[in-house]
């Protein structure tokens, strides 16, 4: 496969202005499918969560899942959309083995939700409004596994295997209007937008929102135009970009690729691109124009959905606090500065800190542990901080041990390692590892005498009132006691010994 030419991102930005657009598919977490009563469960044995409707047998009658409609209306409301008074389903015709009916039941002219917006907060606090064109209901397709080719790719495969368990799982597809004006922040905005949609559907409780399971999937449209030109360039659509990091990388890559194509004087081809996480590049899929003739028509087996204003208002009343409002409230409650709070959000530990505070820690203690100890460990382990396995109760217990003077901060960090290694509760680990602050003054006084004798010049300085020199003696004592002394007590004893007022 040939490698496409790219410009550096900086050069692409100097020459061109990117326009973005996103289609985000959200799988709903209803108990059953959109049009059949078969279970909507991930990871079961292939072709066991299916019935006649999901397999597209002749003569079957689909019936709409009420909960899926309600979830879709909630998503529409959370995206500040209008909810259609009346809407219909339509058949989208195409042949592909993941769709046994040879059409996908979707919505076409009249989506259930339309004309919304989402205000996206970028990492530095900049707000960027993304306009939502529509959010419509449809069904997911089956899962294909390509056999015989390299790395499960469709290219070079000998045949494919199909599991229809996912066929008919309720989907809401959220489509943005063209997003202009993002400039060099386009990749960052792309990631932040998808993150915001994911956060909203998770917060609504209508989707499990796990991207690694395909609960939230993004198709990213990118086009470039010379600065100052109003007309959009020709776009590519990169399919199934399935992690937040990949969304950012895919948009960046496509900007760089388009820029190189335009620089060479060629037109960009309007096509589908496939994202490859391993090489962080895209490759050409089918040319878009081939299959764009879906011959939509109204689904004759499903009658229109009428969303009365009473029903919509009832659903609106059940909506949880929006994520952005929640962040404002939490920051105020916790008394974090803008910078501190932004760091917490960007590190992805806001929920964890909230739980830790609920478990009894103060806001500053919770932040100290998550930001100071856990985020770094998670980074080393290459997992999300919440996935590391630290429970709020563990932090509360560790902090109690520190506040009671039983262990110091350095030991607490060691105890945390023990907890993560599965050695037991903090108290058990303190016991087992023999970690306890030396509080008996006897051994401390010996260590202090030794440290003073070893550094007589320093001792002389302290006697002379240069109190900042005391660090060297405290350090010597801590070293001699292998860090098990209470540094504050050591300082007191040194001053006492030398007859200096602290």
């Amino acid at each position: 496969m040939s490698t496409d030419a790219t410009l550096s991102f900086e050069e692409a930005m100097e020459k061109y202005d990117p326009v973005l657009g996103f289609e985000v598919h959200v799988e709903l977490n209803t108990r059953t499918k959109m049009f059949s009563s078969a279970p909507n469960v991930f990871g079961d044995e292939p072709n066991t969560n299916v019935n006649e409707v999901d397999l597209g047998m002749p003569g079957v009658l689909p019936v709409v899942n009420r909960t899926a409609v309600e979830s879709s209306i909630k998503i529409g409301l959370a995206l500040n959309c209008k909810i259609a008074e009346s809407c219909t389903f339509a058949r989208k015709q195409y042949f592909y083995p993941d769709t046994p009916k040879n059409f996908q039941t979707s919505q076409y002219e009249d989506p259930i939700a339309y004309d919304g917006y989402l205000d996206i907060e970028l990492a530095d606090g900049t707000l960027f409004r993304v306009e939502i064109e529509r959010a419509h209901m449809e069904e997911d397709a089956g899962k294909l596994t390509h056999m015989g080719g390299a790395a499960g790719r469709i290219q070079g495969a000998d045949f494919s295997l199909v599991d229809y368990n996912r066929s008919g799982v309720p989907l809401v597809e959220i489509v943005t209007k063209p997003i202009e004006g993002a400039g060099s922040r386009a990749p960052e905005l792309a990631k932040a937008y998808v993150a915001a949609v994911r956060e909203i559907v998770k917060n609504l409780g209508v989707s499990d929102a796990r991207m690694e399971r395909g609960n939230v999937r993004c198709d990213a449209n990118v086009s470039l135009r010379p600065h100052g030109r109003e007309r959009f360039g020709i776009r590519s659509e990169t399919k199934n970009v399935n992690s937040l990091r990949a969304v950012e990388h895919a948009v960046r890559y496509e900007i760089q690729r388009h820029a190189a194509v335009l620089d060479s004087g060629e037109p960009v081809i309007q096509e589908t691109r496939h994202w490859h996480e391993d090489t962080r590049t895209t490759t050409s899929g089918r040319a878009k124009s081939d299959a764009d003739d879906y011959r939509y028509f109204p689904e004759p087996d499903l009658v229109p959905i009428v969303a009365s204003r009473e029903w919509v208002e009832e659903l609106r009343a059940t909506l949880p606090e929006p994520p952005a409002a929640r962040r404002k409230r939490l920051q105020a409650d916790w008394g974090y500065s803008d910078l501190e709070f932004r760091d917490v959000v960007n590190a992805g530990v806001m929920d964890e800190i909230e739980e830790t505070i609920a478990a009894g820690a103060s806001a500053s203690v919770a932040r100290k542990w998550w930001m100071g100890e856990i985020v770094g460990r998670a980074k080393n382990a290459d997992v999300d901080p919440g996935q590391l396995g630290v429970r709020p109760a563990t932090i509360v217990e560790l902090n109690k041990l520190v506040e009671a003077g039983k262990i110091n901060n350095k030991m607490a960090s060691e105890v945390l390692d023990g907890v993560l290694a599965g050695e037991g509760t903090p108290a058990e680990i303190v016991e087992k590892r023999g970690l306890a602050v030396v509080s008996d003054d006897g051994p401390l006084l010996e260590a202090i005498d030794a440290a003073l004798a070893a550094q007589p010049d320093v001792a002389e300085k302290i006697r002379g009132g240069k109190l900042q020199a005391i660090g060297a003696i405290v350090g010597g004592v801590m070293k001699a006691t292998r860090g098990q002394a209470d540094a504050a007590r050591v300082r007191e004893l040194i001053l006492e010994k030398l007859g200096v007022e602290g």
Partner: protein
């Protein structure tokens, strides 16, 4: 509505994965043109005061509660499949990469 010509039929046949001979295309273009004309008479009957409708029966909101119903076993699901492997439907290579 524009008349259906031979190229339209050939395009539709391709989209619908139906192989048609030259004679069939010619014949079908003629037959479909008659059908399109017949359907046209419906729009003559409906005045501007009649809104477009997708369903003949005035029913809305036919819903099912979100309760799990019956499923097929994998054996039942695959019983009509031309080919299968590992409890999944087996289909020929999707991309035509000769």
């Amino acid at each position: 509505m524009a008349a259906i010509n031979r190229d339209d039929v050939a395009h539709l046949a391709q989209l619908a994965h139906i192989e048609m001979s030259a004679e069939e295309l010619d014949r079908m273009a003629g037959e479909l043109a008659v059908i399109v004309d017949s359907v046209k008479s419906v729009s003559e009957a409906a005045g501007d005061d009649v809104p477009a409708t997708s369903h003949p029966i005035p029913l809305t909101n036919v819903f099912r509660e979100d309760v799990v119903g019956h499923t097929l076993t994998a054996e039942q699901a695959l019983s009509g499949a031309p080919d299968s492997d590992d409890n999944r439907f087996k289909v020929p290579a999707i991309l035509d990469e000769a």
